[in-house]
């Protein structure tokens, strides 16, 4: 904890020394206490972060010892027999997140470009506000809406239609349950769109205006300036924004649990029910009876933690590479 400019601090200290030595003494010990408090807080945050990894690894030790790497590639999930493999959940998490990104990434980038570069100035704040609201809606509310609005709609209209039109693809075969991968992917798309949009918008706004002016000065249209000078300059940050969305999608729990159908299976069709890593923890943690069962669930949590930390770390570095660490903060 030091002042932003040290010469004035030193001057202040000298002055205080001349005038009120006793006050200076009090201030010094106060500084030491405050300094210690702040440092202690910071170390506590670091410790908690380390503790997060350690405690999850410790609680899952029996499952790690029992199954080793096989845990990641076997697909039996049989609590009664005490045999656990996480493959169906890993598959479900990856596929639902992928579906979400395929839908969300183009829409979010389009919206971000519109908001940062192309929209009339007066329209930007209200749209940005609505997108913030979208991010503020709790997961469980999206889940509720998913169960009672999205799923029936998918079952009655969308899936029969898709089945008729694209039924030759394995992706769109099978009975239209409503609940399943498609519903999970759609609800995830809705949920990650605001994150990708607002981070990409920040990235685009961090691109120096001289870039745009140079392109416009060479006779480019608005869109050409955006494409040549802005998108290319901010490319790594935009990839980072999409990765941030991926991180959200991988760990999203409640809404997915409520619409994915919760069946540990690997099916090619998006109409089929599935299960994700986060939802199996949410559904089975309180009813896990054996120690090994709990350990297996915690190991899935550990896996989720490691994957999301890697994705997020990569995303942050990419976003920071454009706007700097302070501007590219939370979204």
């Amino acid at each position: 904890m030091s002042p932003a400019s040290s010469p004035s601090a030193e001057a202040a200290e000298r002055l205080a020394l001349d005038v009120r030595p006793s006050a200076l003494g009090r201030g010094r010990s106060g500084d030491r206490i405050f300094d210690g408090l702040v440092k202690a807080t910071v170390w506590m945050v670091l410790l908690l972060a380390a503790g997060l990894v350690c405690s999850l690894a410790w609680e899952s030790r029996t499952a790690i010892a029992a199954f080793g790497w096989r845990f990641l590639v076997t697909s039996t999930w049989d609590p009664v027999a005490g045999s656990f493999g996480a493959l169906p959940f890993i598959y479900g998490t990856l596929v639902s997140s992928l579906v979400a990104l395929v839908i969300a990434a183009p829409l979010s980038l389009g919206a971000a470009i519109y908001l940062a570069d192309l929209a009339p100035l007066w329209i930007r704040p209200p749209i940005a506000f609505l997108i913030e609201m979208l991010a503020a809606v709790p997961s469980v509310v999206y889940g509720l809406w998913g169960i009672f609005v999205l799923v029936p709609w998918l079952r009655q209209s969308v899936q029969p239609l898709l089945g008729r039109a694209l039924g030759f693809l394995p992706l769109f075969q099978g009975p239209p349950y409503g609940v399943g991968m498609l519903a999970a992917g759609l609800i995830l798309a809705i949920m990650v769109v605001p994150y990708i949009t607002s981070v990409s918008r920040e990235v685009l706004l961090a691109v120096p205006n001289s870039q745009r002016e140079a392109a416009l000065g060479l006779g480019a249209t608005r869109w050409e300036a955006t494409r040549i000078a802005v998108l290319r300059y901010g490319r790594s940050g935009l990839i980072g924004a999409i990765l941030l969305g991926l991180g959200r999608a991988l760990g999203e729990t409640m809404a997915v649990t409520m619409v994915i159908g919760n069946r540990p299976q690997i099916a090619a069709s998006l109409f089929a029910p599935g299960y994700t890593m986060a939802s199996v923890i949410a559904n089975e943690f309180t009813e896990a009876t054996s120690d090994l069962y709990v350990a297996a669930l915690v190991e899935i949590g550990l896996l989720l933690l490691v994957v999301t930390v890697v994705v997020n770390a990569l995303a942050r570095l990419l976003v920071w590479s454009v706007g700097g660490p302070v501007k590219g903060g939370l979204a």
Binding site: M133, V140, F285
Partner: protein, 279 residues
Amino acid sequence: MSPGGRRIVNGAMGGLTFLAAIAVICPLVLVLGFLLYQGISAINVDFFLHLPKPVGEPGGGVANAIVGSLIVVGLAVAIGLPIGILGGVYLAESRERRLPWVVRFLADVLNGVPSIVFGIFAYTLVVLPMRRFSALAGGFALAMIMVPIVIRTTEEMVRLVPTHLREAGLGLGLPQWKVTLRIVLPAARAGIITGVMVSIARISGETAPLLFTALGNRFWHQGLDQPIAALPLQIYAYAIAPYDDWHRQAWAGALVLIALVFVASMAARLATRQRALAR
């Protein structure tokens, strides 16, 4: 490409990105529309004042869940707020190089960790040693989610405080800690409050970290070391249950929850606006 063609592409891209922005906002309208449509008819005075009724008896309310949510979020704020603000002050004011970078990076990465993982963490750290689910465990899990948000917004806001304010304080002979507490933090107050309100809005809607920490409860709260009801948990339980009357209450609960969350978000915006006006 001909100049005309370039102009057409320009217009087309303007139109496409506009459509993308509209498509992004559509779900908000749909979700809020259904919430209002389904929720308003189910809300009445009983809903706010009464305990849940047993299965099969219509009526009853979620008063215990609303109170429970306030308690759990209050606990989270009590734990998370001091840590978040002190951490943010450190990031903004420290002259060290490496540690602040690490903490900043960690805060951003932690912010992306799935909330259910914090639930497991709170379970291993609080529930297992205490041998019971408790409000305390729920508050701890939510605090872990809150801290990174408050750290980063506080840092940004403290950075905005002009250096000459600090110098004026130091020039008067104030010790550094008094400058930080009495000059810098008050100057950044509105922005910090915004960050805190945003984080409160976020954690009050969290369900996943409470599933196996706070657990839920169909009665009034019985102490911080006991399982406690929370509004998101109640909505979840009602939504996946097979009873129509519970579905109705789930919609009503969701409407109340989203009203609370939006009020917190709005309060955050207002705080920033006042700061802008005061400048």
